[in-house]
């Protein structure tokens, strides 16, 4: 799949104590991705909205990159999705 090279909207659901959330936040920052972070413990309605987009998997971090939703992803998985936004549309 290829997209235009517009930056995707990125929404990151996190929990304050969660080491995998810290890792993913760091990865997105290192990749110079602009993202909105939602603290699941501090944002009313956030748990429900996360469950709605990720198939009911109660898991943090969950990240939505454009239309793609990844649950507790590894760096390679995130990079693969980000890569689709760096390929010029044909």
């Amino acid at each position: 799949m290829s997209h235009s090279n517009d930056a995707p909207d990125v929404l990151l659901y996190t929990l304050p104590y969660c080491p995998d959330c810290r890792d993913l936040r760091r990865l997105l920052t290192e990749r110079h991705v602009t993202f909105t972070e939602v603290d699941l413990a501090r944002t009313p309605g956030a748990v429900e909205s996360m469950l709605k987009i990720n198939g009911g998997r109660r898991s943090a971090p969950t990240v939505r990159i454009g239309a793609q939703v990844l649950v507790d992803p590894g760096a390679a998985e995130v990079d693969a999705v980000l890569q689709t936004y760096q390929t010029p549309a044909r």
């Binding site: 929990l15 104590y17 699941l40 413990a41 501090r42 944002t43 009313p44 748990v47 009911g56």
Partner: protein, 168 residues
């Protein structure tokens, strides 16, 4: 019959909305709880099964974790990552579920485990389990067995305690 767990957590306050905790619980078990919070107290009540869990947020007594795991205390059951990435404890949460003596122990234990699991997921930390004399890390708690197995094991321990005349 009363069940209890103790959560040692880096969280300093309850989640900001009760609905988020209710959703976190609902997503993991066959329950439809309503959650209410008032100051340091929290209740999760499911009218359909007639069960209520009560949680109380209290300051973390210094060295509680170290005291718990000092021999012959509780066995730590956690991954290296659970241990290595843990944040300092700030609060201790006592979670209790009370039920009538004729209640099904496995259902009560599952409700207790599911409510605790939802709170724990949002707050983080380690769980002290008096029935198995274990301090659980999250990855082992969720990775080793499903909540239904936790509940079944807890119910077995309760039944054994009753047979021996101990507290149940």
């Amino acid at each position: 019959m009363e069940l209890e767990y103790r959560l040692l957590t880096p969280g300093e306050r309850w989640p900001d909305d009760a609905a988020s905790l209710a959703a976190a619980i609902r997503s993991q078990g066959p329950f439809q709880p309503v959650v209410e919070m008032a100051g340091p107290e929290l209740w999760a009540h499911d009218a359909a099964v007639g069960l209520t869990s009560h949680a109380r947020l209290a300051p973390y007594p210094a060295q509680s974790y170290e005291s718990l795991i000092a021999p012959p205390g509780y066995a730590p059951r956690m991954t290296d990552r659970d241990r290595d990435t843990a944040l300092p404890f700030q609060r201790a949460v006592e979670i209790r579920t009370s039920a009538a003596p004729d209640s099904d122990p496995t259902t009560v234990a599952l409700f207790h485990a599911t409510v605790t699991d939802g709170l724990w997921w949002l707050l983080g930390g380690f769980l002290a389990d008096p029935y198995r004399r274990t301090v659980w890390g999250w990855r082992r708690w969720r990775g080793d067995q499903p909540l239904a197995t936790h509940a079944a094991e807890t119910a077995q321990h309760l039944a054994a305690a009753r047979r021996e005349g101990g507290p149940a």
